[in-house]
Symmetry: C2
Subunit: 254 residues, 2 copies
DNA sequence: CAGTGGTCTAGACCACCAC
DNA sequence: TGGTGGTCTAGACCACTGC
């Protein structure tokens, strides 16, 4: 390869080159990249080197590989998740889950992976103070592309006879049902982490092993400050922007 | 290598193995991993394969390479950034910047990279509605390890004659100085994204090219809803947990 | 100067896809 | 069946570290 920038390795320069070509439309979204052997010939480097360059693009979500078929350019419309607004909007629909998607004229879909009684994961049990819980595990789609996994946990004793054990929970979503039980959430907190996906997450979200994901631990508190539900969101990092808004808590001075 | 799990590639299995050994203390934090040729012999694979496994650990921040010296196990105490609380606490110190660090008994330090008049980056200019801005660019450390880059932008016309053009801005931090000017922030918003670091960020934060970073765009609004400052935080993903807390905005709702 | 990781190559075999 | 990417190897040269 004709090395231009001396300070960089070949595979990094190739990654830069490919990235440029994606940016300027030479490789359009949805189309195939030239094959690795092809690029290998064009740039006069070994295929391993090309492959290493492509690996970088995969990690940043710009490209998606389908084995045997080729490497596709991804279109990257970012989804916006406004944490405060989405819960404020919950009385207009069937829950906060699909607010972001429907706003963008995308077709949203929810797939329920599991609804039932389970032993809570350690992190969840510690928050809820309970191991015997109801899980509502689901996968959300926009235009048939998976956009997030969301596992919600509730006290089993509290919810076992109610509508939360069914897929459709009715108007206002799960938080309205908690309100029906007298423990409507009034305060929320979210912890946001980034990490690499586990194997299962990688499969379910159809992302690369090297593509980082957001892990959001969302906790809802009732008026007496007891946590009443925990939801773990796992979302491909390249798909989402998270937004949080708040007022200065200093209104009554220091 | 003695392949145990058939569904996985060797380098993934080796990465799992190394991860286990880090978890269980076989490789303690701060110590050196066995060298790649050594692992190559032990596991009976080529060095390239070992290297590829180590690459995975680097992306998740578990390991840090110093060329010529070796591969070190990182200690990973997560820093907690509570967005709401850190601004509430600003009147106790010299700003929100160091709240998280000092809480953990770590030694905090701020290095000023640049303070002066610049042309605003496009994203910042769009928010502020102004291209002529003051930048306060800094790098923050905990125990001499870089923990984040923070670039703050203010209208140059507004701040050019004030204390914000000096390194030390005094009690209450920059937001107290904006309040002195009659545009004290009363509302905040943050947009959170994840991406791979640029080269400069990689160098300044001393992280791997494959390690994802948080990019937080923090905007402060004055009482008249005008944005008065923008701060871009760039933080290594493996170092931080972000926390946001809010009350149900439905108090007067339907 | 010996040891470390960074990078690159040529060649190979494989699983998977589309035709 | 031919093309695609996934993976692995042996060997090589390099820059950098620490003694």
């Amino acid at each position: 390869m004709t090395v231009i920038k001396p300070g960089k390795s070949q595979y990094q320069q190739i990654a830069d080159l490919l990235q440029e070509r994606i940016q300027d439309g030479t490789y359009a979204p949805g189309t195939l990249l030239p094959s690795e052997p092809e690029l290998s010939r064009e740039l006069d480097v070994s295929r391993v080197t090309v492959n290493k360059a492509v690996t970088l693009l995969r990690a940043s979500g710009q490209v998606k590989v389908r084995r045997g078929a080729g490497t596709f350019v991804r279109s990257l419309p970012k989804l916006n998740r406004d944490a405060v607004a989405r819960f404020a909007a919950r009385n207009q629909g069937t829950g906060a889950g699909q607010v972001e998607i429907s706003k963008l004229n995308l077709q949203s879909r929810t797939e329920y992976l599991h609804i039932g009684r389970v032993e809570a994961p350690a992190a969840v049990a510690e928050i809820l103070g309970e191991r015997d819980v109801l899980i509502r595990s689901r996968r959300l789609f926009a235009n048939d592309e998976p956009t997030q996994l969301a596992d919600s946990y509730y006290s089993w004793a509290l919810t076992k006879d109610g509508p939360l054990t069914a897929a459709e929970v009715g108007k206002g979503g799960s938080y309205a049902r908690l309100a029906d039980l007298g423990v409507g959430p009034v305060r929320f907190s979210e912890d946001v982490n980034v990490r690499m996906p586990y194997d299962i997450e990688r499969d379910r979200l159809e992302i690369e092993a090297s593509a980082p994901i957001f892990e959001i631990t969302h906790v809802a508190y009732a008026a007496d400050d007891r946590p009443v539900s925990v939801t773990i969101h796992v979302m491909p990092g390249h798909l989402w922007t998270l937004r949080y808004t708040w007022d200065d808590p200093q209104e009554s001075g220091q």
